[in-house]
Structure formats: structure tokens, C-alpha cells
Amino acid sequence: MVETSPSTRPRPLSPHLQVWRWHVTMAASILHRATGVALYGGALILAGWALALASGQGAYDGYMTLLASIPGRIVLFGVTVSVFFHMANGVRHLAWDAGKGFEPRTADLTAWIALVFGLVAAVAIWALPLALGAR
């Protein structure tokens, strides 16, 4: 093989997380990956739902009771926030792929929009049944 570099000293590495002041684009980037992992769990919850539905009424009722419990609701609320944030931030990524939205002010603004949208949309869809007086 080609051995072109004469250097054996350690190569420079890019600065890592701990040397950066926190800023919103960085938070959005990390949260995009974190919510992606959360949605991995969310998809498995969907698989469990389909399995329970195909297994009959007893299994389905048991599964829905589990999801409706307090820990179940907390998990499902987290999945809802993850869906909306990951979706909004994913649209940011698609815009970047088209070469748009890289200016710092635009990137900061869209990061805030994605964060607020994720939270507000999730709260709205969870508050809707309460507002309508159901459940």
C-alpha cells in the first residue's frame, strides 16, 4: 500500500462537546439523535400494539391498560414530543440538503421553531381530549 505520510505524531482531533458553549443549534442536533433513539422505542411500542391486537381482546385490553397507566402515559407523551420535534428538525435537515438555511440567524431561528413546535404540538394533542371533556 501507499505510505505517503511521514508523520507518526498524534493527528489533531476536532474539539469535542465539552469545550463548546451550549447553543441552540447544538442542542437541536443532539436532540435530533436522542429523539430518533426514542422513536426506535416508539416503533417497538407500535409493534407491540399490533401484536396485542392480533392476539385478541384480553391481550389488547391488557396492553392498552399498560399504555394508559401513569408511566405508560409519560412514555407515550415523550414519544409524541419526539415525533413532532424529530419531524420538524428533519425538515430543517432536508432544507440544509437543498443548500438552504445555513446562515447562523436562520439556523438559530429554525432550531427554536423545531423545539417549540415539538413541545407545543405534543401538549396540544394531549390537551385536546381534556378540552373536549372526554376521558
Binding site: M1, V2, E3, T4, S5, P6, S7, T8, R11, R33, G36, V37, L39, Y40, A43, L44, L46, A47, A50, L51, L53, A54, S55, G56, Q57, Y60, D61, M64, T80, V83, F84, M87, G90, V91, H93, L94, D97, I125, L128, P129, A134, R135
Partner: protein, 130 residues
């Protein structure tokens, strides 16, 4: 001889994985599809939450709902396999551990997709079990 090679020489010897573009395009195309499918999915979950077992059976009897939910599951498992692959490749550097985790990810995603789609179609075609 590998021990005498410089880091740059080693990196050059590895070359590219030769399938980055397919991964990139697949991730984006499934992302665009999921914007619509996931919005529909959240709305559907909202309507399904109150209906109970009978409500879910009736809901899944509609061919549109069967098709869209099957599509949502298939595209979501595809998209999340690509995403988790990227995470493993970013953070896991031991070749053996990386290979095992990539295989586990593949099994979970194909398994999850198969279970979900088979269960949905079974209920849609054959109805519920009582």
C-alpha cells in the same frame, strides 16, 4: 506489517464503504414519506385511544387505514434502521462489536416490521380473536 503503517496510510488502505449514496438517499426519501405518514399516525392513535378493541377492529377494516398503517410501519422501521446504523458507526469503533450491533439492529428492525405487518394484515383480513 500493519503496525508500521502511519494513520494516514491505514485510512487510505480502507477506502470508502461504497454504499454511502444509497444510505443518504434512502434516509431522505423515507423521511419525506414519514412527515405525512407520522402526522396521519399520530392523528390515528388519537382516534384509536378511546375506541377499545372493537373500535380498533372496525378502524382496521378500512382498506385505507390498513394500507397506510402497514406503510407507516414498513417505512418507519426502514428509516430507523438507517438511523441506528449511523449511530453505531459513529460511536462504536471496535470492528467486532460494531458488526454485532449492526446485525442486532438489522434483526430488530426486520423482526419488528415483520411482526407489525403480519399482525395488521391478519386482523384486517381475518378479523379479531375473541
Amino acid at each position: 506489517m500493519a503496525g508500521f503503517r502511519t494513520p494516514l496510510g491505514r485510512a487510505r488502505g480502507l477506502g470508502s464503504a461504497k454504499h454511502g449514496v444509497g444510505h443518504f438517499i434512502g434516509q431522505r426519501v423515507s423521511a419525506v414519506a414519514l412527515v405525512f405518514l407520522a402526522l396521519w399516525g399520530v392523528w390515528s392513535a388519537w382516534t384509536l385511544a378511546a375506541g377499545g378493541y372493537r373500535g380498533a377492529l372496525t378502524w382496521l377494516r378500512s382498506p385505507v387505514n390498513t394500507a397506510l398503517l402497514t406503510l407507516l410501519a414498513a417505512v418507519a422501521f426502514y428509516h430507523m434502521r438507517l438511523g441506528m446504523d449511523a449511530i453505531v458507526e459513529d460511536y462504536i469503533h471496535r470492528p467486532a462489536t460494531k458488526a454485532v450491533l449492526l446485525i442486532v439492529n438489522t434483526f430488530i428492525c426486520f423482526g419488528g416490521a415483520a411482526v407489525t405487518v403480519v399482525c395488521l394484515l391478519k386482523v384486517a383480513f381475518a378479523g379479531g380473536v375473541s
